[in-house]
Symmetry: C2
Subunit: 198 residues, 2 copies
Amino acid sequence: MQKIITVSRQFGSGGRTIGRLVADKLGIPCYDKKLIEKIAEESGYAKEYVSEESEYAPGTGGFVYGFLGRGIDGLSNADKIWFSQKKVILELAEKGSCVIVGRCADYLLKDREDCLNVFVYASKEFRADRIVNQYGETGVEPMKRLKEKDKKRKLNYKYFTEQEWGKMSNYHLAIDSEKLGIEKAAEIIVAAAGGNNE
Amino acid sequence: MQKIITVSRQFGSGGRTIGRLVADKLGIPCYDKKLIEKIAEESGYAKEYVSEESEYAPGTGGFVYGFLGRGIDGLSNADKIWFSQKKVILELAEKGSCVIVGRCADYLLKDREDCLNVFVYASKEFRADRIVNQYGETGVEPMKRLKEKDKKRKLNYKYFTEQEWGKMSNYHLAIDSEKLGIEKAAEIIVAAAGGNNE
């Protein structure tokens, strides 16, 4: 039995919804927005700021980094949030079974044997349709929104983990949510998590 | 319900064994060595030759290409085998439910809605141990054997499909057989294949 399930996902793939479904099916908590609240609490930053910060990586022109720079301790806000994020995630994993969506949890928990790392992906067309349905239209074209969001996730992941976001070997299971559907994807993860680790 | 399941795999990951298990569980045929026989029959080449050929890609110094070159029709032996392979795989898929291991079947059947493409992978250490246990020692170090075999599969796949072997987006499901185990991997594929395509 895998105690912790991390769900990393391409923007618009339905990974967050799948994470919640998995948690419901297993009767364990799902940390996605709740995770942001906990990191905000731990770091002292506002949760909107913490939420936004995850979308930028130092040096990519994100306003957070470009504008606010580093404190007198030499740490950027991003670094400080990263340390809080790490602390919160390690503590949550210690506390009990849960699903954690995003936030480099796969990397932070990579030394735990009881952690299943999942990646959820889908075609750009599927995701573009889905974000318009889920989050509504914005002034920016859906394809552009996807590209920017994924790029930022990739850079953020790379900056903090020195690994490749979305590279198969960083995950134990990767699922195409377009082909398999949201519900079936959740079932597959539950089946995988229930398995022995032979 | 997915009618056809293709299993692509890193050398030593247990993908072939997983393919057979899936076929057993679903009560459908599994084409791995049987596929080689069919391609040999269709193409007129010896099955040892067909089997060997899949390990080389034109221009990589494989003896098959280097030595035998092209026929008067301008086609290399590799090309001829490729056309036979394509014909056999398309016909098998038309005939009924089955599992097909390797041989670019994922690419050849990519236009079928009822085809589930799976990729099986594991760490180099796990695979090196496994090939020694499964196939015995050879004069070549296991890590070198792995590297060469995967490289040849990659080049062969690239040459014929112009796609990237092992790239997540070419598959619907990717499974780490080391983490999840051979049996559990097969169960996950069966669960995925049984699902609706919402």
